[in-house]
């Protein structure tokens, strides 16, 4: 699919149609004449067939590839019919062409494109590169430990969701970056389960991102995936889309533990996924592990860590199960129930021991800890995750996605966690924000501590003073001294870093830096 213009004023050019093949459509074509030109149109029957295939009840009144383009276009524009001008492309070819604008769009498009590029260049010289996060809330099943805005939504919502994403991007850039976007040096597709999107949707998503942003050379492009969803077709689609890093949500290598939380994978499935990804050229791989799942024991935890090391991935994330009302398992544990294995939760102190053990074991295997939850071989730290701790700018799109920009004034905002609200708001042309606010200098300084200290490199006093001035930074010294005396922080070469024990009690430390 090719697109011209920016929503809400946009024309989509379809290079393939659901429910039709080119040969058949050519046979049934209807011919007409406009301004002395002979033109071929889809037959009415084929048009209706296509509409049915993409889930639209009635054909003929509106057009375009998606049902949610209720924009302010004139009726005449709505009556334009899609005209296939090329034989159907192979999926991969279509994606590549989508990415590079293959010249069919004409001079007007080229002019628009040049203007966009110019804006991008201006922007690039003006500030730091951005990160872009895209939330894909679709899941096959909701895992019992999950407290994100994700769920089992109908596949029919995927197209409207992508449409909404694009609209959100356009509206956001218009509101937040009138001078145009900065170049993007990290992209992260999170979830939900992005790997559940069909290959053509993955391609579409990549295309729409590249339509609005220019990717810096060597940009990190991560996609989250669930074990068992990474088919050969998905791997190819990801690679074709430009994804160069995949984070596999393994959580546990123990099949019984996985089943308990709602997963179906076995070690063999994980191994096959990794092999397929590597064959597709994606070698920058991360595995997620969670300590504290129901039924987990010291032995199964160590087994998961060892298998992770043996898999040879260059990056590992170790999370601790978070007990809160927002996940089914958490709510059950808090209510004292037995469902989801809530009666078999490992002891909190044991979980802390497991985390400490994993940190040491991973370090010994060359996966050095660089952040509370993250371990990597030298040089393979996740650039996108580092943005969060280093307070570098990023834009998040999709349900419950969050954004942070520093220019012209530091501010954060976050989207609604409800998929329907998200679609409705954007359908009505509004940004789907649930919260937004400017950051005061004090808040920024607090963040510098409670985010910066998450990294093993910690925070440097001199850099802080350069950014915030001497007095405000000095005001945090008593808290630092108190925590150092308690053995949770350490001063090292002008930097403040968490000790091993401090990492496990990080919230105690961070809270002290809040006003």
């Amino acid at each position: 699919m090719l697109q011209v213009g920016v929503a809400p004023v946009r024309v989509d050019v379809l290079t393939a149609l659901d429910g039709l093949d080119f040969g058949r459509a050519w046979e049934h074509r209807e011919t007409g004449e406009m301004d002395g030109l002979r033109l071929n149109f889809l037959s009415r029957d084929d048009f209706v067939r296509n509409n049915r295939a993409v889930g639209r009840a009635r054909g003929g009144t509106r057009c375009g590839p998606t049902p949610r383009d209720a924009c302010g276009l004139k009726p005449a524009a709505h009556r334009l019919k899609p005209v296939p001008r090329d034989p159907p492309l192979s999926p991969t070819r279509a994606a590549r062409q989508g990415a590079v604008h293959n010249g069919h769009e004409g001079a007007r498009v080229a002019a628009t494109h040049a203007a966009t590029e110019k804006r991008r260049e201006r922007r690039a010289s003006a500030g730091e590169a951005w990160g872009v996060y895209v939330a894909i809330p679709f899941c096959r099943a909701k895992c019992s430990f999950c407290n994100f805005a994700s769920g089992v939504f109908p596949a029919a919502l995927q197209a409207p969701y992508l449409e909404a994403l694009e609209r959100e991007i356009a509206l956001t850039l218009a509101a937040e970056a009138p001078a145009g976007p900065a170049p993007v040096d990290s992209v992260y597709w999170g979830g939900g389960t992005p790997s559940l999107l069909p290959p053509e949707r993955l391609r579409e998503l990549a295309v729409l991102l590249r339509r609005h942003f220019s990717f810096a050379p060597g940009a990190e492009f991560t996609c989250e995936a669930m074990p068992g969803t990474v088919s050969g077709a998905v791997c190819d689609a990801l690679a074709a889309a430009g994804v160069n890093r995949v984070s596999l949500g393994v959580q546990t290598w123990d099949a019984a533990e996985a089943r308990q939380v709602g997963r179906r994978h076995t070690p063999a499935v994980i191994g096959a996924d990794l092999a397929r990804l590597r064959r597709a050229g994606i070698r920058n791989l991360n595995l997620d592990l969670i300590a504290g799942l129901p039924g987990q024991t010291t032995a199964t935890w160590r087994e998961s860590v060892e298998r992770t090391i043996a898999s040879g991935v260059p990056h590992v994330s170790v999370y601790l199960f978070e007990l809160d009302e927002d996940s089914r398992l958490g709510a059950e544990v808090l209510a004292g129930g037995r469902r989801y294995g809530a009666a078999a939760m490992p002891d909190g102190d044991a979980t802390a021991d497991w985390y400490a053990w994993a940190a040491e074991r991973l370090g010994a295997a060359g996966l050095r800890q660089y952040e509370i939850s993250n371990f990597a071989r030298a040089g393979q730290e996740s650039r996108h995750n580092e943005r969060y701790w280093l307070r570098r700018p990023y834009l998040g799109f999709g349900v419950e996605a969050h954004s942070f920009l520093r220019q012209p004034a530091p501010r954060r905002w976050g989207n609604t966690a409800e998929l329907q609200t998200y679609l409705d708001e954007l359908g009505a042309g509004r940004l789907p924000r649930a919260e937004a606010g400017a950051l005061s200098a004090e808040q920024e300084l607090e963040e510098a501590f409670f985010l910066g200290l998450r990294r093993n490199a910690g925070v440097g006093w001199r850099a802080l003073e350069r950014e915030f001035g001497a007095a405000p930074v000095q005001s945090k010294k008593p808290a630092a001294a108190e925590m150092a005396a308690a053995g949770l922080l350490r001063q090292r070469a002008g930097r403040l870093v968490l000790t091993d024990r401090g990492r496990l009690l990080a919230n105690e430390v961070f809270a002290r830096f809040l006003a």
Binding site: I372, N385, Y394, Q443, L504, L514
Partner: protein, 599 residues
């Protein structure tokens, strides 16, 4: 108003037997309020009163009732407080009446407060009209209740009125009985003024408002009056009656009840039970029965945040304007800093004061476990009153410690008898009476140390009897006991606010239970916290709160930094609600831990 056409009466009942609902019906029936104006429990004006369904302050409302005999009567309904903590106020309210309606629930029958309040009314020489209420309930058994009233209280109940305040059944009979069975006020209209002050409160616009019953003489606007107990004089600025709307009037005649506004600044100057007389022509003798109100239960009140100390003092002073029955004085605690030792009439009173402070003044309070006032004789022969366990002199200096003793009346179902007897024994009670009130119901009389009662006696009585037992008590004296001070040490330091005075026989058991409870209540800190119980410097129990192992958000939330900040702020706020003693954060409820010990 012709004195013969006035009736002053009160309603006495056990809690929840329908007193306030009956009052509502009487108001409605006499047209004092239209149905549209009716709001449940009209007379309970404070939010707290409505929420808890209890009456804290007395009220009086004037009803106009055209009786069947063709005469129109002025009925003054005096609604009294309904809880054991306020029995002195109840007795003064009753002293303003010639008669009382004794309301008894037709299903529940006579309860402890029915007995206690009837005796109060009988002792005031009141004519009592029994009303058996809630006869519409399926479980109502009016005949059994009639027998109980006769056998337990000794009243003739043959002409008891069967009523349902809920449906309005019997309301007119009640009004007729008030007119024909309750005598008119005696009183000499020509004698010097004597009016009984039976309640007072602070109105922010008008100063102190007195609620009085004119016994003799006449009270008029502009009159110079004197309060006989305090000797202070004031000028009457306004007189009013409630119907229940406040209606100003020129005078209150002998036998009448009304409100007096006389530019009085402090409730403490308008003591309940005092006599109002004329400044120029004073009465020779005051009305009988005036007493200084003495608090029975004591506790330390501390602001959770020490910078709220001044706010707390202001709030206590304001509250005292409206409630002269509680007392406070500054106190300081090594653990809690500056606060106040407060005295209350009882546990309910304490709860009410605490709740009003938190609700009306938005204060975050920390309250220590309730205590009583001990009389300590030192070896030097000196006598001290100790209402704060931390102030008990060292054992070597103490000769004797006497503790307040109450006489408690408990009425219970026979099934719960075993559990209640065991509870009373455990609480060091001495049985003084055991009486069957007809089949299946027993009235027990016990002497019990008040300090055992203020801890958790009432809750445990309710548990032992599945909510059926009722309790009433009055102070009956002091008795020497073998009492010791139990100290709690947190991280090696004694926390004075956690000290308790307990009987030596229970000291070990209590100490162990308390240390265990503290371990449950004190959250894990960044270091190990030992908790010890000690008596006279000897440690008798030890528990350990293990050091916290983890408190970290080890989870990827994408860029949701706001969520992380909120979590940290929540944790920080949680700590603020705790009291930092030394280096340990102790939550508020730990200071009341002794109340939730399982024994």
């Amino acid at each position: 108003m012709d004195q013969r056409l006035i009736r002053n009466f009160s309603i006495v009942a056990h809690i929840d037997h329908g007193k306030s609902t009956l009052a509502d019906r009487l108001l409605e029936q006499t047209g004092a309020l239209t149905a549209r104006e009716m709001q449940e429990q009209v007379l309970d004006a404070m939010d707290l009163e409505r929420e808890r369904g209890i009456t804290i302050k007395a009220h009086a409302v004037r009803l106009t009732y055209p009786a069947r005999d063709g005469q129109t009567y002025q009925l003054n309904l005096i609604d009294t407080p309904g809880h054991v903590d306020f029995s002195y106020e109840v007795s003064r309210s009753l002293a303003a009446c010639e008669g009382a309606l004794l309301v008894v629930d037709a299903a529940q029958g006579v309860e402890a407060q029915t007995v206690a309040n009837s005796y109060l009314a009988v002792n005031q020489g009141l004519e009592i009209v029994p009303v058996i209420n809630k006869v519409d309930l399926p479980s109502a058994d009016p005949e059994r209740v009639r027998e109980q009233i006769e056998s337990v209280i000794g009243l003739d109940a043959s002409n008891a009125i069967l009523a349902s305040a809920k449906t309005g059944l019997g309301t007119e009979e009640v009004l007729e009985a008030v007119v024909h069975r309750i005598p008119p006020p005696p009183g000499n209209a020509d004698a010097p003024l004597r009016a009984l002050l039976f309640d007072s409160w602070f109105d922010p616009y008008r100063g102190v408002v007195l609620l009085v019953r004119v016994m003799d003489g006449r009270l008029a606007r502009g009159q110079k009056i004197r309060l006989m107990a305090t000797g202070q004089s004031f000028q009457v600025e306004a007189l009013a009656v409630r119907t229940p709307k406040v209606v100003e009037t020129e005078a209150l005649e002998a036998g009448e009840v009304g409100l007096v506004i006389a530019n009085i600044k402090r409730v403490a100057d308008a003591r309940i039970g005092d006599t109002v007389t004329d400044e120029q022509h004073p009465a020779n003798t005051a009305l009988p029965g005036f007493q200084e109100i003495k608090p029975m239960v004591f506790a330390g009140l501390y602001p959770v945040e020490s910078d709220q100390h001044a706010d707390l003092r202001d709030a206590l002073e304001k509250l005292r304007l409206n409630d002269s029955s509680f007392f406070f004085e500054p106190e300081s605690s090594a653990a809690l800093g500056f606060g106040f030792r407060c005295g209350f009439l009882g546990l309910l009173h304490m709860e009410i004061v605490q709740e009003r402070l938190e609700r009306e003044f938005s204060l975050d309070l920390l309250i220590t476990a309730p205590s009583v006032r001990y009389r300590v004789t030192t070896r030097g022969g000196e006598t001290l009153e100790v209402d704060n366990p931390a102030k008990l002199p060292a054992a070597s200096e103490v000769a004797t410690v006497a503790e307040p003793i109450i006489t408690a009346t408990i009425i219970t179902q026979e099934e719960s008898l075993g559990a209640i007897l065991a509870l009373c024994e455990q609480k060091r009670g001495t049985q003084k009476g055991f009486e069957y009130l007809g089949p299946g119901r027993v009235m027990l009389t016990y002497e019990l140390p008040l300090n055992e009662v203020v801890l958790d006696f009432y809750d445990r009585l309710k548990t032992a009897s599945r909510g059926y037992a009722s309790l009433d008590y009055h102070l009956s004296g002091y008795r020497d006991s073998n009492l010791v001070k139990l100290d709690i040490l947190v991280a090696g330091e004694p926390v004075d606010a956690l000290s308790l005075i307990v009987h030596a026989d229970f000291a070990y058991e209590r100490g162990r239970a308390l240390a265990a409870k503290m371990k449950e209540l004190i959250p894990r800190q960044m270091f190990e916290v030992p908790i010890q119980a000690s008596i006279g410097g000897k440690v008798i129990a030890r528990e350990t709160v293990k050091a916290m192992r983890k408190n970290v958000l080890a989870k990827c939330y994408g860029g949701d930094i706001t969520r992380k900040r909120k979590l940290l702020e929540k944790q920080k706020a949680g700590k603020k609600r705790m009291k930092r003693v030394g280096s340990v954060e102790i939550p508020q409820e730990a200071f009341m831990a002794v109340l939730s010990l399982e024994e």
